[in-house]
């Protein structure tokens, strides 16, 4: 009788077992995090939060999460660094497609319109409605606007900021130019930049991030709003920036970058900050996120942006989005977010990191004085929030609009496009984008 040799038979059985184990592991691994099931209602376990903070912010996050976990909540929090927040949107999309999304994640406000299309992104409005003590209206307007898509609140604010004028006092003194004031106009700004530019020492009056990304667009939007213009019409169906105001703002960029050559064009590498620290750039339009990276030996000042018609600025609020991984986890994550975005915890966070307060009530707390003493520049940024009256439209088409406008502004800065040409090109593209079905 033909018999299989014992050794190869045993081997075959072992292989089958290995394959079976592998398949089972892969199967359960891809099935997504299972909600906690335990005897106690609401379950218990650990909810996962993904963020992109480093250095000071990361240390602060770790401290605060340890504080929260020490309170012995039903759902503990696990803070996971998931890489630069520039890629947070793609990371979350990938994770959601793979069924292994975190419970909370830090996202740029501009990503929300597209993320909100997924039903897996928790509708925070419902949770907030059930928690009146949360005081939604306590958050700054800009932050609440950024978290609202189609009239529904789909995230809670994590960060509020805005663009201010940060300048190097020593360079101003050396060039004999008086410091920027709260009543500066575009003319003052342009003149100062010209006087602060020195081709032989490679010193520039202003720096602009000119890589065609949203970083390029949102600074342009600040100038557009300063000129009294608008990005889109009231119901977000057509471009509205191909207007006299739009032309004035494009012209300002063209005049400064191409005619005066007083602008350092950063390619999205962040070189502008190193150069500011080395005293090669006199003025920046930037936000609180850069302030902690400015060297101690640089004497800087902070002022609101110059005006054409208004001193308008732009805010880039970021948000905590929650992913629906089951009702128990949603509750656990919401408990944490309530604690984390409360005025008390946010004041602690602000004191540790220098980030701006996200709730108006924070400015009335006694600790706020300590905060201002520690971060003197913060006062200007917080006051400047009053100048943020308009927001970028929270519509799914915005990324496409951003690309069209980014190309136009980059073309103007590089001197490849005339201002009106750039406006025509961009507005045509934006109209086509908004006219496409499904937008």
């Amino acid at each position: 009788m033909k018999r299989v040799r014992t050794s190869s038979f045993v081997l075959m059985v072992l292989m089958l077992v290995a394959v079976g184990v592998l398949a089972a592991a892969c199967g359960s691994g891809g099935g997504g995090s299972s909600p906690g099931t335990s005897a106690s209602p609401g379950g218990s376990g650990t909810v996962v939060l993904w963020h992109g903070d480093i250095d000071v912010e990361r240390a602060a996050l770790d401290e605060l999460s340890a504080q929260y976990n020490a309170q012995d909540p039903a759902w503990k929090i696990d803070m996971v660094f998931s890489g630069n927040s520039d890629y947070a949107l793609q990371k979350l999309l990938t994770a959601m497609a793979g069924g292994k999304a975190p419970d909370i994640m830090y996202q740029y406000g501009s990503s929300l319109a597209n993320l909100a299309r997924s039903p897996k992104i928790v509708n925070m409005g419902d949770l907030i409605a059930k928690t009146p003590s949360y005081d939604w209206n306590d958050f700054f307007d800009a932050a609440r606007l950024a978290c609202t898509v189609d009239g529904k609140v789909r995230a809670v604010p994590s960060l509020v900021d805005n663009l201010c004028l940060v300048y190097n006092k020593k360079l101003f003194d050396a060039a004999g130019v008086s410091y920027p004031t709260a009543s500066w106009t575009w003319t003052d700004f342009r003149d100062a930049a010209k006087k602060l530019t020195n081709a032989s020492t490679k010193q520039y009056g202003w720096a602009y991030v000119a890589d065609g990304s949203e970083d390029t667009v949102w600074r342009y939007l600040a100038t557009l709003w300063q000129a009294g213009g608008d990005l889109l019409n009231a119901d977000n169906t057509k471009a509205a920036f191909d207007s006299p105001a739009g032309l004035k703002s494009m012209q300002l960029l063209y005049d400064m970058a191409v005619v005066d050559k007083s602008v350092y064009l950063d390619q999205g590498t962040g070189n502008y900050l190193s150069l500011f620290n080395s005293g090669k750039i006199a003025m920046l339009w930037t936000g609180p996120w850069d302030m902690s990276t400015i060297n101690k030996d640089v004497q800087y000042g902070v002022e609101i942006l110059p005006a054409d018609v208004t001193h308008a600025s732009i805010a880039g609020p970021d948000a905590w989005v929650m992913v629906d991984n089951g009702p128990d986890r949603v509750q656990g994550a919401w408990d944490f977010l309530q604690w984390f975005t409360s005025a008390k915890t946010q004041m602690e966070w602000a004191l540790k990191t220098g980030n701006l307060p996200i709730r108006k009530s924070q400015t009335k707390m006694p600790a706020y004085k300590l905060y201002l003493a520690k971060f003197p520049y913060a006062a200007t940024f917080v006051a400047n929030l009053d100048n943020v009256t308009k927001a970028r439209p929270n519509i799914p088409a915005y990324p496409k609009i951003s690309i069209a406008l980014g190309q136009a502004v980059q073309g103007v800065l590089l001197g490849k496009l005339q201002p009106q040409q750039a406006l025509d090109q961009a507005s045509q593209q934006v109209d086509a984008i908004l006219a496409a079905p499904g937008q």
């Binding site: 009788m1 033909k2 299989v4 190869s8 081997l11 075959m12 292989m15 089958l16 290995a18 394959v19 592998l22 398949a23 892969c26 949107l89 793609q90 999309l93 959601m96 497609a97 597209n114 993320l115 299309r117 997924s118 490679k202 000119a210 890589d211 065609g212 990304s213 350092y264 064009l265 390619q267 999205g268 590498t269 070189n271 150069l275 090669k280 799914p396 990324p399 496409k400 690309i403 190309q407 980059q410 073309g411 590089l414 490849k416």
Partner: protein, 304 residues
Amino acid sequence: MKPARTRSSGRWDRLLNSESASGWLFVSPAVIIIGLFGVAPIVWSVVLSFQSNDLVTPGTWVGFANYAALFKDPMFAASVRRTIIYTLLFVPIVTVLALALAVALDRRLRGMRFYRTAVFAPVVTSTVATAIMFNWLLDPDFGIVNAVLVKFGLPAQGFFQSPSQALYCIVVMTVWGWLGFAVIIFLAALQGVPRELMEAAAIDGATRWRAFRRVQLPMLGPATLFLVIWLSINALQLFDEIYVTTRGGPLQATTVVVYYLYVQAFQLFEAGYATAIAYILFLGILVLTIVQLLIGRRFVHYRS
């Protein structure tokens, strides 16, 4: 005693007990892993390319609409053009330079180990580190390259900030990064050329150049073919270096096919369109590789 014949001794039995059956069981774990991580995404991509899908909400079937739109898309055509220009520059430059370097390194000089390591070091340097380095080297205002040019009275160049120069700077950066790989391949192939052949050529009175041209070069055929195919495939799939330097700019001067695909999928939420691009690229590379192999078969001499 003669063993009794049983019914189990049929075709099935022979199949299950054959060596190939156990062989398959041995490789099945690897096959399953490759299947899950390799084949499954490939199949899913094909399915996606027939949908309009934003990866956030469920997709809708659109048949061949994505492919049809591709042929009318001027931005896609432009990205294909740039990719071809890049490939036509990258592959010959690397192959020829690497061959020259390999011949130069195929000697017994002092410090040869150092030179070979130096040539290979760029290959193992991470793309991001290389990008940061080149970003600063080629910075129009503060980079060393412009400083040297200006010192010699030449005008400062825009490099990564110039729409007309950016792609060629990428060529330089990637040639620098890949040269070592090709040099190592050629070195190995050169060292496979039997010494007796070179000695015979020398005895027959051939000059160094003729010996190289007539003896070594033909024997490098297989290595050259491999490199041309491998480098072409990598050049057509260029993405990393663009992503960490110019991000497809300035003014889309470095938006190659894979970068365009990335923008479509992850910035514009058009995953269906992006996978259609991926499949067109795949078909293009497949056709090119087949052509290269056929040409290679005709001209390359394999030692038996």
